[in-house]
């Protein structure tokens, strides 16, 4: 008897979670994973850290080992999907094959936004997204002396921290007037600005890149203010573009990502999209959003697996993020968009540990926690429970956080 088949396009965090959740949800049909990278799904966050330093291998980073896929009867194929025929229910592969699907999940991710300036294609100018990018950067580290990072978002700042750790001179350029501008409060930006300077980074904000100089290999970065910084390694981290072309060419709705409902379903009931490429409706925040983080990819995958297995549970988990730089462990709970007030616990101007809580109408909606795991876990709970903690107590280091949680009654067990 022919078994139904789920095809998962792309092999990242969402894809691995789909394999897990589909089997846990009772899917006993085929699962075919098609990825355009040669590897099974691997952890991306360590790429800019331990993988760049060469202390972990790609095998170490596999989200699940090869045994898992074998045991769970998941096939992996290294190929690029070039088109979707919705009427026939097939996808075309770049090796000329076509595969039929009963359910299709697009986990196509995102690609680094290219920097459109002269010299961007010189050798020594790198993006930072997948293992191959890092392997290319790693190949230059033995001789690299001066690195320039373009973009002071999380990717850029993590790369800066990693390269400093290797003793390489690092300059970071940011076109906005502060680091992490898109995602954090000015207090948090000021903290990261200070720490990177303390670690020896030449940090320049409010300045853009006019071009890269060099014959075949980059030797300097020319800035919009006329300055020139010598560089033998450039890492560009100026955001990503969602990979929506497959979906768009197939006639699916696309708007800042592939448009999906709260179950991850596109406007074709047999096709879903998960992770960085998907734009979902979020009931908690009452808006559509496209997030670029592991937790979001996992939550999408779980919701989609539920929908495919007939046990639909909408996308509902609180988004969260993390970023490791130097000795800083930043954990972020929730989304701060729309906050009207910031409450600090600890002092970001001194030392390296504090939490920044974001409130809207008195309600806690997000928190940036630097070396404050307790504040992070508190925030996860408090945001989920829609609490409005007292501002003064929230800021008071002597008030135990647990006292600010109105723990709901739990059933006796």
């Amino acid at each position: 008897m022919k078994r139904d088949r789920v095809i998962v396009v792309g092999a990242g965090h969402a894809s691995a979670q789909l394999c897990v959740s589909l089997r846990q949800g009772g899917w006993d049909g085929e699962i075919a994973l098609v990825g355009d990278e040669p590897s099974l799904p691997y952890q991306r966050p360590p790429l800019s850290k331990t993988f760049l330093h060469g202390t972990t291998t790609l095998t170490d980073l596999l989200i699940r080992g090869p045994d898992f896929y074998e045991k769970e009867d998941v096939t992996f194929r290294h190929a690029r999907v070039t088109g979707i025929d919705r009427e026939a229910g097939t996808v075309a592969l770049d090796d000329g094959d076509a595969l039929s699907y009963d359910r299709l999940v697009l986990c196509t991710g995102a690609r680094p936004r290219p920097l459109d300036v002269p010299g961007a294609d010189l050798a020594g100018v790198h993006a930072l997204r997948d293992a191959a990018d890092i392997e290319a950067i790693r190949g230059t580290l033995r001789t690299a002396r001066r690195a320039v990072i373009v973009g002071a978002g999380y990717i850029g700042l993590e790369a800066a921290a990693s390269l400093r750790k290797l003793g390489i001179e690092v300059a970071v350029l940011e076109v906005a007037d502060r680091v992490l501008q898109r995602v954090t409060a000015p207090e948090v930006s000021a903290f990261y600005d200070r720490v990177h300077r303390e670690e020896g980074v030449d940090l320049r904000t409010g300045v853009g890149v006019a071009g890269f100089e060099g014959d075949w290999h980059v030797r300097a970065v020319r800035l919009t203010d006329g300055a020139e910084i010598p560089a033998d390694l450039v890492v560009v981290g100026v955001g990503v573009l969602p990979n929506v072309e497959l979906a768009r060419d197939a006639g699916l709705a696309v708007e800042n990502g592939i448009v999906v409902d709260e179950h991850g379903r596109t406007d074709d009931p047999r096709i879903f999209a998960a992770g960085d490429c998907a734009n979902h409706y979020d009931a908690r925040y009452g808006t559509r959003m496209r997030l670029e983080c592991v937790a979001n990819a996992l939550e999408h995958a779980k919701a989609i697996a539920g929908a495919i297995c007939g046990k639909g549970k909408p996308i509902s988990a609180l988004p969260w993020f993390w970023s490791d730089q130097y000795d800083l462990k930043l954990q972020i709970a929730g989304l701060s968009t729309g906050h009207d007030e910031v409450v600090l616990r600890g002092n970001p101007d001194v030392g390296r540990s504090f939490a920044c809580f974001y409130l809207a109408d008195g309600r806690l909606i997000a928190a940036d926690c630097v070396n404050r795991p307790k504040e992070f876990m508190f925030s996860k709970r408090a945001i989920t429970q829609e609490l409005s903690p007292d501002r003064v107590l929230l800021a008071d280091p002597d008030t135990p956080l647990v006292s600010l949680l109105q723990t709901p009654a739990r059933s006796a067990r």
């Binding site: 966050p45 898992f68 996992l298 490791d324 307790k374 996860k380 709970r381």
Partner: protein, 106 residues
């Protein structure tokens, strides 16, 4: 080389083969144990691999670190033997270990 047993909150046991040097979180996820997520991949960042070590074993596994404490103590299910499975490395000495899972990972 031995086994480790993960017991779900509803009492369902999952016996998995012990692999020396692998974290308990990886052992659980690679063997499809439900109730251990390990979303951050083992960096003690997410707190989704909370387990409770059987009393008889806590001397062998050791108690949780300060970082783990900060992560798990906000869970209403935190107990004296709560640990993060990603911070527990399997060794032959842990052959026969049983850990219990909370009802909810945070």
């Amino acid at each position: 080389m031995g086994t480790i047993t993960f017991v779900e909150h509803d009492g369902t046991p999952h016996q998995v083969e012990l692999e020396d040097g692998t974290s308990l979180m990886e052992l659980a996820t690679n063997n499809g144990v439900p109730g251990i997520d390990g979303d951050c991949g083992g960096e003690a960042s997410c707190g989704t691999c909370h387990v409770m070590v059987d009393d008889a074993w806590i001397a062998t596994t050791g108690t949780r670190t300060e970082l783990e404490s900060q992560m798990v103590e906000m869970s209403p299910e935190c107990g004296p033997n709560s640990r993060l499975a990603c911070q527990l490395r399997a060794t032959p000495a842990l052959d026969g270990l049983t850990v219990h899972l909370p009802e909810f990972q945070m």
